[in-house]
Symmetry: C2
Subunit: 344 residues, 2 copies
């Protein structure tokens, strides 16, 4: 004699609201009420129902719930690279803002794969998520527009630029690089290099522009080197070349923290002291930057703020879908000065 049989309900599958209602001796609507509007239910019935729920191990079926209610409290965040702590910061910011707003945040990692990105967007679209957040690849946003066309709110986080069709939050990359460059100049550098990543990345181009602006304003020479990637080995290779060239450089602005780590390693290999002979600054404040042997100065502080703002924009659109006007919020990053640039 199975437990389910004793309880007089079908054996397989989880208990339903109807099972709960039967066991509590009330109608199904009442069960729904104690779950969703407990104030409408008398103390006594509520207790009966709660007892039945506990006894049966009843768990709401959110599919049925969403279907009937026509809405959901889930928001999806699709991220390019969960291995990059910058995006983890975004996720954290989004998570805490969502929690505060009573929304459930689910993550999906596209892992720099456009097809996966599209797949996860479609997943959340099919699940009728309340809204979507997308930290996109630097690639066409067709899939995001599709979601948008289906009437689902979506906001871009760390977007490559403003977008007329949807809300987005961006960080001012030009400003960031400018701040970084000015910082090196203030620290007494006289001959700078900008270690770019691949120029096909919009962010890289903006940062380059910012660095050039700052260098021009201060009339400090700026050598530009384009590395193959934003990773450490590329930074190391590029720096090795730069530092063994005849022209002397006493400060390098990098496009990423791993690059900066690579640069510092190259410097150490060549017996060039950091920050004494060479100041190095990274970008994005990845988690490891603070813990290095030579803590790496960097530009950061934008990640979690962007996540929060993105949720805020999303909420606005969810709350007022018709009156809503798309807009772009630009976050200003800040300097995080650590030892790798401390020259005075």
């Amino acid at each position: 004699m199975t437990k389910a049989f004793e309880e007089g309900r079908k054996a397989d599958g989880p208990a339903s609201m109807q099972d709960v209602a039967d066991r509590a001796g009330v109608a199904i609507g009442t069960v729904s009420n104690v779950l969703n509007r407990p104030d409408l239910v008398s103390e006594r019935t509520r207790h009966k129902v709660e007892t039945a729920i506990a006894a049966l191990g009843f768990v709401r079926n959110s599919s049925a719930r969403n279907l009937a209610a026509g809405s959901s409290d889930m928001v999806g965040l699709v991220v390019v690279d969960i291995g990059n702590s910058f995006f983890v910061d975004i996720a954290r910011g989004a998570e805490s803002a969502s929690e505060q707003a009573g929304l459930k945040l689910l993550l999906a990692n596209s892992d720099v794969d456009l097809r996966r990105q599209a797949g996860y967007l479609a997943l959340f679209d099919e699940a009728r998520a309340a809204g979507l957040l997308l930290a996109p690849l630097d690639a066409p946003l067709e899939a995001a527009y599709d979601v948008q066309d289906h009437g689902r709110p979506i906001v871009l986080v760390n977007a490559p630029g403003p977008d007329k069709r949807m809300c987005s939050v961006t960080v001012d990359d030009e400003l960031g690089a400018q701040i970084a460059t000015e910082h090196l100049i203030e620290q007494g550098c006289h001959s700078l290099a900008f270690l770019a990543g691949p120029l096909e990345f919009r962010a890289v181009r903006h940062r380059l522009a910012g660095a050039q602006k700052a260098a021009n304003q201060a009339s400090v020479p700026l050598t530009v080197v384009e590395a193959d990637s934003l990773k450490a080995p590329s930074g190391r290779a590029a720096a090795h070349e730069l530092l063994t060239a005849p022209a002397v450089v006493d400060g390098i602005v990098c496009c990423s923290d791993p690059q900066a780590a690579g640069v510092i390693r190259a410097a150490v290999d060549l017996d060039i002291s950091v920050p004494g002979e060479l100041a190095v600054i990274g970008y994005d404040d990845n988690h490891f930057a603070a813990d290095s042997v030579i803590p790496v100065s960097t530009i950061g502080g934008a990640g979690s703020r962007m996540g929060e703002l993105a949720v805020q924009l999303l909420l606005e659109e969810i709350t007022d879908p018709v009156g809503h006007q798309h807009r772009t919020v630009i976050v200003e990053p800040r300097l995080i000065a650590r030892r790798s640039t401390r020259r005075r």
Copy 2:
């Protein structure tokens, strides 16, 4: 005149299968068939339906789908700390295995908060996920048992130990620390220290045991120090104390990579050369470990493997819920030797 009006359907909300059927001039069942069993539908009708789907921008409603079908292809992974690249590795492994199995993997970050962990488990439970993966807090697993009791498959990843009630995959922490310690001894260290994290963590205790085992076998003295945390500042502080004490230590086994980074920093501060005078090994192969100025040797390789295996176990249970026998798979980590321990 709105687009919806022209199309002769209600304005708000996404198109439904009924809308598609109407526009294509077929019955709703046929639309369902072209979506789920296209081989049962004639070329011509299928084309009509597909045209209507495209024209309407129709997107399946997975809530309705799951409700009607009574199953879902989503699996949820709840992770303690998405900021730790070890768990990112697990997520990556789980993701690729899921993709291969035709399952959709969604992530949730409990952020070392038991309440959040329970919340996300409940979320996936309510969504009737096909199964759950949990990289748990080192804390009671009540919420996981609940899920289990509701008949939903769940497997523990990086579990604190074997569990009779559910499948789990663990890494052999004792072995890992043993390997690490043996490595230092092979490299010629004569006096070791084990930098433990808080001993309330099971993993820390196991690692301690492994280190002691290796040290005993080789008759090498092992000083044990308990740091406040697994983070860099704790490692730095503990190492500073250790390295300024009268007793000489020429090798330190750490419980984490950040700790190792802290140790190396302390050594550099004290003008002790690494690896020359002091060999240091970390644990978990966090992403940054390879890129440091002094690349950090470590114990790793288990993360993505654990993720894959966990999905595999989950699949077994999903496929055969009744015949399934819970089991624990133990993954063996491996040494990743880098410069911080290269003494010969």
